[in-house]
């Protein structure tokens, strides 16, 4: 069994490139108009029922979990618990819960934690948040129908809970998830989707499905003096061009930017000083299916990496809103090799490799792609002429997001272009290339390499963080050499905000997820906001 170790502590993820104006004293009151940019609607106000970032943007305001992610330190920290004690074997954690109040006035107690986690893990409910419970002892049995509750979560007294996990990894990485919040056990479950009742800093005031979520300050929020805002409006706006107009028009206070607008905003004197950038932990790539005979040959996969001018695509199409990918792990990962260089643009070498492999002509494949501007059809359109120059013919297979994952999981593709999580935990994400990992889990390219497996197994069993990190770095470098995918880029997330907005954080996990309780607006805000 692979284990995740404390090397996570060495992670420094927050790499803000723009300093935020951290004025001394936050001002209370006012309205912040935020946007949820990943669609024109949200799935549900019950965050446990959905795995989508779009919903998390709202859920983050309504709910609290046992732990929370600290974007500045790059680590999970306690949220609903005041303190925790670890048992001698390192597997049982005993939490002392805070005094916290739900929006309906209920007080947080140990039963709520036990009930919430059991509900999440309940196979009959099939909640996506169950993912976060899998590390807890007894969840596997519960999921398989061999038990009727989780054996690893126990109430000690009203304010104390003990959680037993199956490995030595810090459970904070799972339990900090915004998809695994604590709900009140006494609140009717069928109300959660329409009238949420959480522990978060804001409570629901008005929800117009398909348009916006209006939230107001929750006065009994457990953190003293927070939140600062009186009102938080979240607009559901999927259309980037429309968001651009709305932001410039002052109708919204923050806007997640695509490449074109990133370039335009950084060149605009009035906008360029209020842009927040962060290196997110996603790797954009084209995965090659070894079902295609040519892709079994390492030289062909390498040749494609050499034949594409990634820098030019990043510069011209992504407008530098990305970092060229070297291998799988992003630059912020501790196991990232600072000396490693990305594949150079070298069409001659590509041609030579293809010739050597016997594919001087005649190699033809399709790329299954969504219409995403940073990891979809526009990128494929750009590589078509580049690969044509080395004698490779590429066609497009345009699909919806739901069909993309369907085709990949059912092994029905030549290659695909996608954006995948590659952090913060290097062991977890490199493990996606272990031959023991199935295609339906996350080894989408069915990568199987004995040397790579050996390195990862060794890393999983290594207790010394430095040695483990070294093994992971070697594995990551081997992955680059083997090129199971075209390494395209690591995302740079960018958010523009109005000058009167303060307290936004460069969250490397997902920039659109903000700690709303820390946001405030100053006196320069227009009258409608104050």
């Amino acid at each position: 069994m692979l284990t995740r170790l404390s090397l996570m502590a060495a992670l420094a993820l927050g790499t803000a490139t723009t300093a935020l104006a951290q004025d001394a004293t936050p001002k209370d009151g006012g309205t912040f108009v935020f946007t949820a940019p990943y669609g024109n609607s949200i799935t549900s106000l019950d965050i446990t029922a959905t795995p989508h970032t779009q919903d998390e943007i709202v859920g983050k305001a309504l709910n609290r979990s046992l732990y929370k992610w600290n974007p500045d330190s790059g680590k999970p920290e306690l949220d609903l618990a005041e303190s925790v004690e670890k048992s001698a074997d390192g597997k049982t954690y005993t939490y002392k819960l805070r005094d916290a109040t739900f929006h309906n006035g209920d007080k947080l107690d140990a039963d709520d934690v036990v009930w919430s986690y059991n509900r999440l893990a309940d196979p009959k409910k099939a909640l996506p948040g169950a993912e976060q419970m899998l590390q807890i002892e007894g969840v596997a049995e519960f999921q398989d129908g061999k038990a009727d509750h989780i054996s690893g979560v126990k109430k000690i007294d009203d304010k104390t809970v003990a959680i037993t996990v199956i490995n030595l990894a810090d459970p904070g990485w799972n339990l900090m998830s915004n998809y695994a919040p604590i709900y009140s056990k006494d609140y009717p479950e069928d109300q959660l989707a329409s009238k949420p009742n959480g522990l978060g800093p804001f409570k629901l005031a008005n929800y117009v499905p398909g348009s916006k979520v209006e939230l107001v300050k929750f006065d009994d929020y457990y953190e003293q003096g927070k939140p600062h805002l009186a009102k938080l409006d979240i607009m559901l706006m999927g259309e980037a061009a429309a968001r651009d107009v709305a932001f410039r028009n002052g109708e919204i206070d923050a806007n997640v930017l695509g490449p074109v607008q990133y370039e335009a905003y950084t060149q605009d004197a009035a906008l360029k000083d209020h842009i927040l950038e962060v290196a997110e932990v996603y790797t954009r790539n084209i995965g090659f299916n070894p079902k295609i005979e040519a892709f079994k040959d390492k030289r062909v996969r390498q040749a494609i990496n050499y034949a594409i001018n990634s820098d030019l695509i990043i510069q011209k199409l992504l407008k530098n809103k990305a970092y060229p990918a070297v291998s799988w792990l992003p630059t912020s990962s501790p196991a990232f090799d600072k000396d490693a260089k990305p594949y150079a643009y070298d069409p001659d070498k590509a041609k030579a490799l293809l010739k050597e492999a016997g594919y001087e002509t005649g190699l033809k494949f399709s790329v299954t792609a969504t219409d995403n501007e940073s990891w979809g059809l526009p990128i494929v359109e750009a590589i078509i002429p580049m690969l044509a120059k080395v004698g490779v013919e590429v066609t497009t297979d345009p699909v919806d997001g739901s069909v993309l994952s369907d085709k990949i999981l059912s092994d029905n593709f030549d290659s695909y272009i996608w954006s995948n999580s590659s952090g913060p935990d290097p062991l977890k994400y490199l493990n996606c290339f272990h031959s023991g990992t199935s295609q339906t889990a996350c080894n989408y390219v069915k990568f199987a390499n004995a040397d790579f497996d050996k390195l990862l197994d060794a890393a999983g069993n290594e207790t010394d963080p430095a040695k483990q990190n070294d093994l992971l770095r070697q594995a990551n470098n081997l992955l680059q050499e083997e090129a199971p995918v075209w390494f395209f880029n690591y995302n740079k997330a960018v958010m523009a905000y109005q000058p009167w907005v303060h307290g936004l954080k460069p969250n490397a996990m997902e920039l659109a997820i903000q700690d709303y309780e820390d946001i405030w607006i100053d006196d320069t805000a227009p009258a409608g906001r104050k």
Binding site: V260, A264, L312, K316, L317, D371, P378, V380, A382, P398
Partner: protein, 273 residues
């Protein structure tokens, strides 16, 4: 009387677009797909690139010309399919009557009730993006008006002397429909098809906006427009020219259709709102 000027304007626009599409191979200075140099992306119009270049560094003028092929194919073929289906169903329903008439009538009502864009969106979801799917999606969803007109014309023709005479003379049903009825309803069907071409070109653009149009990198006006919508501030030419091409083409077919209608049958003017 009438709008002879508008008819001529429509004819000129349509002929220009048709010529552009047919001669794209000769007129286009660049290859619409392979001549993509990212180093020269988003260039404004100049002597080399009359309509500038798009985000991929491709010549917008060449892509507008080649896009005309796709957009016109979508318009013409889908309307051809619609006309054939509509005429066949309408004429046979009107001619035979009975349960077949009821069935066709019911089906027409269903097709009228489901908005064609909704229907096309559903079909595209099943078939996936691409030209063939688009032809099917737009060809199967817009025949109800043709069907209605074909049916009502057939009903009134059926009672007239020459059809009765042909029947008495022992001509077969198929023969009568082909020789006696069909020639008399071709006019109205042609008008509806002409007006429908514009609608199909617009539907292609709408479906591209919704993410289910022609497969890139093949250019169509719809996907050019959809791709360029974010460039409207930084490289407006990439959005303006395909937009104008759609506008001119649809306007052309609409004016042409209106004119044809006035010429063929002044009484038909009000039939199709």
């Amino acid at each position: 009387m009438g709008l002879r000027f508008n008819f001529v304007l429509g004819l000129v626009l349509v002929v220009l677009v048709l010529l552009g599409a047919l001669l794209a191979g000769h007129l286009a200075p660049f290859d619409p797909i392979m001549d993509a140099d990212l180093m020269s992306s988003e260039l404004p119009p100049d002597w080399e690139h009359w309509m500038g270049t798009d985000g991929q560094g491709r010549d917008v003028f060449s892509r507008v010309l080649y896009g005309a092929r796709v957009s016109l194919t979508v318009g013409l073929v889908s309307q051809l399919i619609n006309s054939v289906i509509g005429t066949a169903l309408g004429v046979s329903a009107g001619y035979f009557g009975g349960w077949w008439d009821d069935l066709v009538n019911g089906l027409t009502n269903v097709m009228l009730a489901i908005p064609s864009l909704v229907f096309a969106l559903a079909i595209m979801a099943v078939l996936g993006p691409g030209l063939p799917s688009l032809l099917i999606a737009l060809g199967l969803t817009n025949w109800s008006w043709t069907c209605r007109i074909a049916r009502s014309s057939t009903l009134s023709l059926k009672s007239q002397g020459f059809v009765q005479a042909a029947k008495t003379a022992g001509f077969g049903d198929l023969n009568i429909m082909r020789t006696q009825i069909l020639p008399n309803i071709l006019g109205p069907v042609l008008v509806i098809a002409t007006l429908g071409i514009g609608g199909a070109v617009l539907s292609e653009a709408a479906l591209s906006f919704l993410g289910v149009g022609i497969r890139p990198p093949q250019p169509s006006w719809g996907n050019m427009l959809s791709d360029a919508r974010e460039l409207i501030r930084t490289a407006p030419w990439a959005a303006i020219f395909p937009g104008l091409a759609i506008f001119a083409t649809v306007l052309g077919f609409n004016l042409l259709g209106d004119g044809l209608r006035d010429m063929l049958d002044p009484h038909m003017r009000t039939q199709r709102a």
